[in-house]
Symmetry: C2
Subunit: 388 residues, 2 copies
C-alpha cells in the first residue's frame, strides 16, 4: 500500500513545509502545531478514514527549520512510517492518564525556547482537534511559551494549490462528472429521493471515488427548500427540479459541484432560473483574475442574476476547495480576501424561484495568472430534462 499512503513524492511535501516555515519566520513562530485531518494530511500525506473515530488526538509539529515531527497514537505508526516523515513519536492511545500530552510537550519544548511562540490555527474555519482540558494542560506545561494564532500562516499556504494538487482535484471532478452522466439512468418520477442519493453514491464509487464524504441535494417544484437535509422517502414528481451535489474524494482531494435536472419537461421558471445561474457563472469566469477580491465575485454573481431578472439567494456563493469539502475564502459581501493564482474555488450562485424555493448551480475552477480553468466539466447551458 506504500504508494497510496504517500499520494505525492516527498518533494511536494517538502515544498509545502518550506512555505509554512517562511511564514513562520515572518510571523515569529518557533513551531507550528497541527491537529486536524486536513492540516496533517497536507503536511505529511497521512491519509486515513480512521479520523472518523474521535477517540484519539493526532499531532504534527513543524519547527521553524528542519523536518516535521509526528506525535501520534501507536496505531498510526505503520501508516505514518510510509510518509516522508522520519521522526515519528508514538504513545499507546487512548491513555486516560496522559493522552500524548507529555510527549507533545517534550517535542514542542525541543523546538521552542522558553520565551518562544507556538502557532496554532485559531481563526475562522479552524478548530482544535484535541480535548480542551489537554490543551490547557499543554499550555501550563509549556509556559511561559505562548500559543498564538497561526491561521494566516496556514491558510496563505494551503489556499494556493500546486499543479499536483490541481491535477488531483481535476481527477475527482472528472469522476463526479461521469457519475452525474449516469443520473438520468436512476432518477425519474416516482423514485424516492433517498434511492436517488443511494444510487448517486454508488455511481461515484463505481466511477472511481475512493469514498463519498458528502452528498446533498433536493427536489421540488421549481426548486428545493434547502440543500443540507438528508434525503427522505418522498418520490420525485414530474415538474420537480432535482439537484445533486457531491464532495467525493480521490487520493484525499475533494470535488464540490452540483447538477440540476428537470423531472419531466422543465417549467419556464426553472428553465429561466437555470439559464440565469449559468450566465452569471459565465460572467464571473470572464472577469476572474488574481487580485479580484472574494467579495467582488459575490457582487458580480448577484449583479448578473439581477440583470437577468433573477433574485440571488442569501449565503455564500462559492468558496475554496481542496483537502476539505470547503475552504476559505467565502464569496460573501464581507470577505475581502484577494484571490491568488493557484486557488481552487467553487462558484455557487443560487437564486430564489418562488417562496421558499431555490435553485443552486456550482462549478469548480482553478485561478491562473491569466484567467480561469474549469476543473468540473461545464454544466449544460440549458437545464437538462429527464423524460421517460
Amino acid at each position: 500500500m506504500a504508494e497510496r499512503s504517500i499520494i505525492f513524492p516527498a518533494q511536494e511535501f517538502r515544498a509545502r513545509v518550506a512555505r509554512f516555515q517562511a511564514g513562520m519566520v515572518a510571523e515569529g513562530l518557533d513551531a507550528l502545531l497541527l491537529t486536524t485531518p486536513a492540516d496533517v494530511f497536507y503536511a505529511t500525506g497521512f491519509l486515513t478514514r480512521f479520523w472518523e473515530s474521535p477517540a484519539r488526538p493526532w499531532f504534527v509539529v513543524i519547527p521553524q527549520a528542519g523536518d516535521p515531527v509526528a506525535v501520534i497514537p501507536s496505531i498510526g505508526a505503520a501508516l505514518m512510517g510510509r510518509t516522508w516523515l522520519g521522526d515519528i513519536r508514538t504513545w499507546d492511545a487512548p491513555d486516560p492518564r496522559d493522552d500524548g500530552i507529555s510527549l507533545l510537550a517534550d517535542t514542542l519544548a525541543g523546538f521552542v525556547p522558553a520565551t518562544g511562540n507556538i502557532g496554532l490555527p485559531m481563526g475562522l474555519e479552524t478548530h482544535l482537534r484535541m480535548p480542551l482540558a489537554d490543551y490547557a494542560a499543554l499550555r501550563a506545561r509549556l509556559a511561559p511559551r505562548r500559543f498564538v494564532d497561526a491561521t494566516t500562516c496556514v491558510q496563505r499556504v494551503r489556499e494556493v494549490k500546486s499543479d499536483a494538487e490541481i491535477a488531483k482535484v481535476r481527477e475527482t471532478c472528472t469522476i463526479a462528472a461521469r457519475a452525474f452522466e449516469r443520473v438520468p439512468g436512476f432518477a425519474h418520477a416516482g423514485q424516492p429521493l433517498r434511492d436517488v442519493f443511494r444510487d448517486f453514491q454508488i455511481a461515484l464509487l463505481s466511477e472511481g471515488a475512493d469514498w463519498v464524504s458528502y452528498v446533498a441535494g433536493g427536489a421540488g417544484p421549481d426548486g428545493y427548500g434547502d440543500v443540507i437535509s438528508p434525503a427522505g422517502p418522498e418520490p420525485l414528481v414530474q415538474g420537480d427540479v432535482l439537484m445533486l451535489d457531491t464532495g467525493a474524494v480521490k487520493d484525499g482531494y475533494f470535488c464540490d459541484f452540483d447538477r440540476n435536472f428537470a423531472i419531466g419537461p422543465a417549467t419556464d421558471t426553472a428553465r429561466r432560473a437555470h439559464a440565469a445561474l449559468w450566465r452569471a457563472t459565465e460572467d464571473v469566469l470572464s472577469i476572474l483574475r488574481p487580485g479580484v477580491c472574494a467579495c467582488d465575485v459575490h457582487r458580480t454573481l448577484c449583479e448578473s442574476l439581477r440583470r437577468q431578472g433573477a433574485t440571488p439567494s442569501g449565503g455564500r456563493l462559492g468558496h475554496g476547495l481542496g483537502v476539505t469539502l470547503t475552504e476559505w475564502p467565502s464569496f460573501t459581501p464581507l470577505d475581502e480576501t484577494p484571490l491568488r493564482a493557484g486557488m481552487v474555488l467553487t462558484l455557487e450562485p443560487g437564486c430564489i424561484t418562488r417562496d421558499g424555493r431555490i435553485i443552486v448551480h456550482e462549478e469548480n475552477i482553478v485561478l491562473r495568472e491569466d484567467g480561469v480553468d474549469l476543473l468540473s466539466p461545464r454544466a449544460p447551458a440549458d437545464l437538462p430534462e429527464i423524460i421517460r
Copy 2:
C-alpha cells in the same frame, strides 16, 4: 423530508435532555454548550452531512431547565426547524466580523447568572468544534461566568442507549451483515484491495446504508500489517487473510464490526488465530454483566487468547458505539469505567500471528441487566474461505 430529519419522536429527545439536566443540576451547571455533530444530533435530531464543511460553527445550548436553544447558521434553519426544537436563533455565516459569537453569548447570558457555570465537554474523546479565538472571545464576553468541564455530564447520558437507539444500531448492523455476505462475490485472488473496498462500500449502500463513513481493512499472508491504511492497488493473493471493517450509517447510527476471509484455503496459522479470537469473544459474552469494568473485558480477552496459545495485540480491544464510530469506554488495562446496562459496545480482540501481522475480530453488542445481546449477527466460528 420531515420524518427523516427527526429520526425519533420528540419524546426521545426530551428524555435525553432531561437526563442531561439531571446531571447539570448535580454538577452545578447552569447551561451546557454542545458544538459537535454527535452531541448536536443526540440532543436535537439534527442530522446532516453538511458538517463535512469546516466553514461554520453550530451551537446548541441546553439550560438547566427548559428546552434547548439552537444557535446556528441560517443555512441550517429549515432543517433544524423540522426537529423538536422551537427556539432557533440564526446568523448569516460565515461572518468574519462575528461568526455567531454575539448571538451565542447573549443566549448563554440569558440562562447563566454572572456567577454561573457553563458546561463544555473538555475531556478524553471530546473536542470543541469552533475556532479557538472565538472561544476566547466568548469567554471574555461572558466573564465572570466560568466554563467548566462537562464531559462526565454528557458521557454518562450518551453511553446508555434507549431501546430506540439500540434498534437503530441493530438495523445498521443488519445492513452491514448483508453486505458482508456479498464479499465472496467480489473478493478473490487477483482482485486489487482498492476494488474490494469500493465494492464493499457499494454493497453497504445497496443493502440500505444511508452513507458509509468508515471502511478499513487489510490483507496479507496470515494477517495484515495495519488496519487504518487506505487500500492500494495490490491484488489479493491466495493465502491472504482479508479483513473488512465498516462504520456504515443509517439514520445517524453507526455499526462497527469486521469480518475476516481466507483467500484460498486458510493456513493453519490463520485458522487457529481466528478460532482463538472467536473463542475469546465467547468468553467475554458469557461473563459480561453491568458492573464489570472496561479493563476487566480487556483482561478477559487477553487471558482467553493466551490460554489458547495466541498472542494478544496491543491497543484497545473494543469500545463504545452509537452516534459516532467509536465512543468511550475503551477496553484497555487503564480504563476503569464500570459497564452499565444499555451500553452499546464493540468487542474487538486482535492477535499477532507472526512478525508484523495481526488478525482482528469484532462484534457489536448491547449490555442488558442480565447479560449481552448481539447486535451484529455472530461471525462464523471457523474462518470462512473464499475459493474459486
